[in-house]
Symmetry: C2
Subunit: 221 residues, 2 copies
């Protein structure tokens, strides 16, 4: 496995590292596969840093009674830092990570990455900046939850889905959408019925077909 | 004004700076006073970095229609980094900051701090770590909003208030508490009535008196 060329592409600090530091990180790297819905990381473990090669990872919070809310999702080329939160001592919260699709990732062992980040400032700055940029994603979620009605949040979610997948169909179940948005399935089913009555979409057993994209987009404003 | 000794106390990187960098930061420093409820920072401006000397600052999000939610508050000795978010390019959200009490702060001009943080890694790492540690505070708020009932959130808020102020009285109005928690005044008034009926507190015109601290604490679990 040639980790060198992969890391050269996704780590801005890579060329500032010494040859031995590069070798050290590559030695502590592995390629991992996750099935759809397989757990990538849970709770307080400090697994390691993941780079998504293919597929999609979902980061979420989980309550004691099993409620969930999606914080953000990671696509190919993106780096998952919160699964190595022990590298960032200032992070004191726990997140869960699942593979939303079958996913291939590269993983660097957390302890190995930590060793290098303590010695090389550029590595530490990269780790912190990656975490801070996710802070912005989470603030957007918080803003939606506190200030927006659930129908607007659902419209934003559906619209983002069709834009990012470049199709007009969302194949998730109502239960899955509810978990993304931190609400109950019944709420989503009821709202989708309203959207359908307004001519925005059709709900079938195979999925949700968006029939009026412009109208859906209007609801997101 | 001797900023040197103040910065020596609150910046772990201070002694790694050159004499001229120290002088540069001190030259671009000032002491600022804020009245109770005065705006310290709003929206997208990049004011500068604040160090709270006395009083208390409150960071919050504001919706287009004037709804608020408190993210966290800063006490003496704490550093406010989000008012200098231009130093951290990865932060793309806006916060508002008010003085919750009459407050004295030291301020370092954002551009000056930015200049040094681009050149000295330890300064950049400090800025990022300060931001990331607040990420944890915001995750705690998000967790409360998504997973907890409003009565539990109110109990946590009241309990934190009496612990941090070391009194049994909370002199805020119901409106102020509602703004902290991102809800309506009526909701808070109704819940305080329930708490009063349960013998946990008394609501008077002067404030909220906690009469059964142990019972209040039980509600926070």
């Amino acid at each position: 496995m040639n980790f060198e060329s992969i890391y050269n592409d996704c780590f801005p600090f890579w060329n500032t590292l010494s040859k031995s530091d590069k070798e050290f990180l590559c030695t502590h790297s592995s390629k991992v596969y996750f099935d759809k819905e397989q757990a990538v990381h849970s709770n307080t473990e400090c697994t390691g840093l993941y780079i998504v090669k293919s597929g999609k990872l979902r980061l979420y919070m989980l309550s004691e009674d099993g409620k969930e809310i999606t914080l953000y999702r990671l696509s190919p080329g993106e780096v998952c830092m919160l699964s190595a939160s022990c590298v960032l001592q200032s992070i004191t919260f726990d997140v869960y990570i699942d593979a939303e699709e079958p996913s291939e990732c590269y993983m660097i062992n957390a302890a190995a990455f930590h060793t290098i980040s303590e010695r090389v400032s550029a590595v530490k700055i990269f780790a912190l900046e990656t975490a801070v940029s996710r802070f912005s994603d989470v603030m957007w979620i918080l803003q939606q939850i506190v200030f927006m009605s659930m129908d607007k949040r659902l419209a934003i979610f559906l619209y983002d889905e069709i834009v990012s997948s470049s199709t007009d169909t969302i194949t998730m179940t109502h239960e899955q959408i509810a978990r993304h948005l931190g609400t109950a399935r019944e709420v989503i089913t009821r709202m989708l019925k309203h959207f359908a009555a307004d001519g925005i979409l059709n709900v079938t057993r195979k999925g949700i077909y968006i029939t009026d994209k412009a109208k859906l987009q209007q609801l997101t404003h």
